[in-house]
């Protein structure tokens, strides 16, 4: 394996290759990302009512996010490792600050107003939580002992509960899954995972018992959106019509009638996949999923190639969380998962998630391009 790595590094003498390597950019990953981003402009133009200014704003945000990705790719993973604890602590403190300020203003609050810009600590936690867990678990030998699993679970639950209380279920879910992924890749025993799943399943009726009537109604609508035909159910019904009417070949670019006639709400943000499915049909959908799979595969490859435990765990978690994004959004839009506010990664308009995602890819590139060439 060491030989292979050595070959990879010394077999590309081209000028461009050297240049890109000194830029700390991973070409296959970058190409995958660029393809998805290019596609996002195509879809957004149609979904956003063919408004050019929307694309400009999308491009600006994407450019900034890419810039951040490149900057992070230059930082040595060891730096990330040594800053993990500090970063995570700051995140938790900020989340507490947001919760307290929300209490004071008597309203739901996710933002921290820093005057010149508004900052969403929960978004930041999507990165700092897996970093923290990767640091914590890599300090000990793997697979983690029960004591460390409990420690990691507590570390993870603090930000997850704070975010869920905001309430921002989508982000809480993503943070939780990023942490769970670290534990999974660290070698958490299958029996333990089975135990947790069983425990959660058996706790559900107890929790149900303690809920109030209106809370139960909320959960029921959450699970079965069709029960609320004016709200979440309306989204799902319209979204299914859009997707189904697209058929195998789709109605063609700019051919989406459902978004055009305003039947499909939030067509350029959370429900953009429905527009895509209507216009590009089953072939387009499979193609987009293949693109996502390509990016995920490359990330997994980077994780396998990583040279230390911290990098490996973090890379694996970031790759897996990216997939959770895709799954939760598309699952929601095609009506197999409850409606939570998770955007289609890199494609949906707006939101700060694009910045976080690109930062994650920056870390992955850093891990891959800072590998040491070990002597034979």
């Amino acid at each position: 394996m060491k030989n292979e790595m050595r070959q990879e590094y010394f077999q590309s003498p081209s000028l461009i290759g050297n240049l890109l390597r000194s830029l700390h950019i991973d070409i296959p990953l970058l190409l995958g990302l660029l393809m998805i981003c290019a596609l996002s402009f195509v879809i957004l133009y149609s979904a956003g009512g063919q408004e050019i200014s929307l694309l400009y704003r999308h491009a600006t945000r994407m450019g900034l996010a890419m810039l951040l990705m490149i900057v992070l790719a230059h930082i040595n993973p060891r730096q990330f490792q040594s800053f993990s604890v500090a970063l995570f602590s700051v995140c938790v403190l900020l989340l507490i600050a947001v919760a307290v300020m929300g209490q004071i203003s008597m309203g739901a609050q996710r933002w921290l107003d820093l005057g010149f810009f508004r900052f969403q600590p929960s978004e930041f936690t999507k990165l700092s939580a897996p970093m923290m867990l990767a640091w914590y678990l890599s300090e000990h030998s793997l697979p983690p002992r029960p004591k460390q699993v409990v420690g990691a679970a507590i570390l993870l639950l603090v930000p997850v509960l704070l975010i869920a209380k905001q309430p921002d279920l989508g982000t809480a879910l993503l943070v939780a899954s990023s942490g769970a992924a670290v534990l999974f890749f660290a070698g958490l025993s299958w029996w333990f995972m089975l135990g947790i799943v069983t425990l959660l399943a058996s706790l559900t009726p107890v929790l149900w018992h303690f809920m109030r009537e209106y809370q139960r109604n909320r959960v029921l609508t959450f699970i079965n959106p069709e029960a609320d035909p004016m709200g979440a159910g309306y989204h799902i019904i319209q979204s299914k019509i859009a997707i189904g009417s697209g058929g195998i070949n789709g109605k063609g670019w700019l051919g989406s009638s459902q978004a055009e006639l305003d039947f499909l709400p939030e067509s350029s943000t959370d429900f953009i996949f429905a527009v895509f499915a209507e216009e590009f049909g089953l072939f387009g959908c499979v193609g987009l999923l293949a693109l996502y799979l390509l990016v995920i595969s490359r990330c997994f490859y980077i994780a396998v190639q990583a040279q230390d435990t911290y990098s490996r765990l973090l890379a694996g978690s970031l790759a897996f969380t990216f997939f959770v994004y895709v799954f939760v959004n598309i699952g929601m839009v095609i009506g197999v998962l409850p409606v939570v506010g998770v955007p289609l990664p890199l494609v949906s308009y707006g939101g700060t998630s694009m910045v976080t995602l690109m930062a994650g890819f920056g870390i992955l590139m850093s891990i891959h391009t800072h590998r040491k060439l070990l002597p034979v």
């Binding site: 890749f185 070698g187 004016m230 049909g281 959908c285 995920i296 595969s297 994780a303 897996f320 598309i330």
Partner: protein
């Protein structure tokens, strides 16, 4: 570098990690396969079905908010009603350039900058495809103006809406409360489906306490739209179910008499129907106009209300906590008789002050030179403080607490309003747990005249008075009389089922003394007795706002108005068949007898002789 020392571990970790990556990858492939399967189901199997739906998809669903229930007084006069008004509303998602549209509308209809800001705030809270009001209470002229240019403003429309209106304004604001826009906090707890299309919720008073009954059940309609997404035809409708109408026990005429009688004083008047516990009067002065709260009160107006030294938003009848002063004396006297520490004929010499053994401090009577020899009847009639210092000492604070607690002092009455305060009935335990101090005998003395730690709300005083008039059958005050909707009419006249065990002879004696307060030759509320053909039993009270020093003289004229004593009066009538119990607090009124008692007199007289009162008005 440290990994060199643990090569074996590293290899094992490597193996585990690789196997996990493979497992995760397999999982991802499986899930993606599942997603594709679902897409095949929708796009291949279900394609024809959905394609048909898509072609016919001209149906939109619009919520139909229910009509809010009306609030009436006991004689069917509307205290809260729904008035149709036109509002200009925008659906942000359908508007291409919102800023431009707003500035055009602003020019056309002369909309203030503040209203634009309010709209922007509201818009951010709502979803982009819901209709958000920009301007309310449009005049016919404004409606016509917009109608002309309507085709150029897609996503903007005029809607007829029912808006809550309170015809009696400040008079009943503290009872009826008001509705206001749903805020983010409320959005979290209200049932989502029920409140779609509704943007108001009860914030205060009956509007809040009976929110679930008043609100009703939402319906929706399926609307056929044209290519510009404008409604052309209603396909199907699920009718909303209007909220229940609520009849209160309140008598708005009586309320007005009480409110006017309080005149320049801040304070509260509460009157209860003794037979049912129905609240007849629930006045807190000054009041405020609840109507601006419905459409969204401006920050400036709200600040003015909040910063006013008279605190108009403060519900004095429900939340005002005052020392009961001498109005507590009948209850203490009854306690003395019930516990057998004294009897009705017991006499005591009042020199104008009272001293605890071995203590220099003089506890003064309000009458500097004293009342001389008094028995219990005279002590109540003339409100002798010294007699009650002695009685309180004989009872001890814990027995005072035990007895007065039965009448509801120091705890919520349980009235059907939100935000009632407890007041305070002190005891040794309370002082230990709350002040971490031992109880002093001097504190028992001043509790004997309703001063010190003791605090009551006007509502509590009225309840205690009604319970005393009812010979110990506990009266529970309530405001809702009947709740009526299409399916049922619910009458809530609570009959007291809790009875305080009392010796009726003792109660009769106390009532006799209270009757003498009004009808006796030396009673402190003697002026009430003139020109009435029935008997009133009452007790005056004066609650100290600040403490004067030992040898200082209380000089009313020299004292700043805000430092003057509160005037209190409790009463019920007629004595032999009690029907109405009243409690009055006039802040800084000085004397119970001269200020508070006449207010009670007016309420009682208007209630017992309604015809006579009507003639007066003519």
């Amino acid at each position: 570098m440290d990994r060199k020392f643990a090569i074996k571990d590293s290899l094992a970790e490597n193996r585990i990690f690789l196997s996990r990556i493979v497992a995760a990858f397999v999982l991802i492939i499986l899930i993606i396969a599942g997603l594709v399967a679902r897409l095949v189901y929708l796009q291949v199997v279900g394609h024809e079905h959905y394609a048909t739906l898509s072609k016919d998809n001209r149906i939109k669903i619009a919520p139909l908010p229910p009509t809010r229930g009306i609030i009436y007084d006991r004689h069917g006069r509307m205290l809260a009603q729904n008035v149709p008004t036109y509002s200009l509303e925008l659906i942000p998602e359908q508007i291409e350039n919102l800023d431009e549209t707003l500035s055009k509308l602003q020019q056309l209809l002369n909309i203030s900058e503040e209203k634009i800001d309010l709209f922007q705030k509201q818009r951010k809270r709502n979803k982009a495809f819901t209709s958000t009001p920009l301007l309310q209470n449009l005049t016919d002229e404004e409606v016509a103006k917009f109608a002309v240019v309507r085709p150029y403003f897609p996503g903007v429309d005029v809607y007829a809406r029912l808006v809550r209106h309170y015809p009696y304004g400040d008079l009943a604001a503290h009872v009826v409360g008001y509705v206001g826009r749903i805020n983010e906090q409320e959005m979290k707890t209200l049932p989502v489906a029920e409140y779609r299309g509704t943007d108001h919720v009860g914030k205060n008073g009956i509007e809040k306490a009976y929110e679930s009954q008043l609100h009703g059940t939402a319906g929706y309609e399926e609307i056929e739209t044209n290519a510009q997404a404008r409604a052309v035809n209603t396909v199907a409708t699920v009718e909303p179910i209007a909220g229940s109408n609520i009849y209160l026990t309140l008598d708005i005429d009586l309320q007005k008499i009480a409110y006017d009688a309080l005149s320049e004083y801040n304070g509260a008047a509460v009157a209860i129907d003794i037979k049912t516990g129905g609240v007849l009067v629930f006045a807190s002065r000054p009041g405020f106009d609840p109507n601006p709260f419905v459409s969204g009160i401006s920050a400036k107006e709200y600040k003015a209300l909040q910063d006013s030294p008279d605190q108009p938003l403060y519900n004095r009848a429900l939340r005002g906590q005052y020392p009961p002063g001498s109005t507590a004396k009948p209850f203490l006297a009854l306690a003395g008789l019930e516990y057998g520490v004294t009897d009705f004929g017991h006499r005591l010499f009042c020199p104008g002050y009272y001293k605890l053994p071995n203590v220099e401090h003089k506890y003064r009577d309000w009458k500097k030179w004293g009342h001389g020899m008094v028995d219990m009847n005279e002590a109540i009639t003339q409100s002798c403080d010294v007699y009650f210092y002695d009685l309180a000492l004989a009872l001890g604070i814990d027995r005072i607490h035990e007895f007065l607690d039965q009448f509801g002092f120091g705890r919520k009455t349980g009235i059907d309003l939100v935000g009632e305060l407890d007041g305070l009935l002190p005891s040794k335990d309370w002082k230990r747990s709350h002040r971490n101090q031992a109880w002093f005998p001097g504190e028992t003395l001043i509790t004997g005249i309703g001063q010190g730690y003791m605090q009551t709300t006007p509502l509590q005083l009225a309840k205690a008075t009604a319970t005393l008039a009812n010979h110990g059958k506990v009266v529970i005050p309530h405001l809702a009389h009947r709740i009526i909707n299409a399916n049922y009419a619910d009458s809530i006249d609570l009959l007291p089922d809790e009875v305080i065990p009392l010796n009726q002879k003792n109660v009769d004696n106390i009532i006799l003394a209270m009757t003498n307060v009004v009808h006796g030759s030396r009673g402190t509320a003697g002026r009430l007795a003139k020109a009435i053909n029935y008997q009133i039993a009452g007790k005056t009270g004066t609650a100290q706002v600040f403490t004067i020093k030992q040898e200082e003289k209380y000089n009313e004229d020299a004292i700043d108005f805000k430092m003057r004593d509160h005037a209190l009066f409790i009463a019920f009538a007629p004595v032999h068949d009690p029907q109405i119990a009243v409690a009055i607090v006039a802040e800084h009124g000085g004397h119970g007898g001269s200020v508070a008692a006449p207010i009670a007199g007016e309420i009682i007289d208007a209630y017992l002789n309604p015809k006579k009162d009507a003639q007066h008005e003519k």
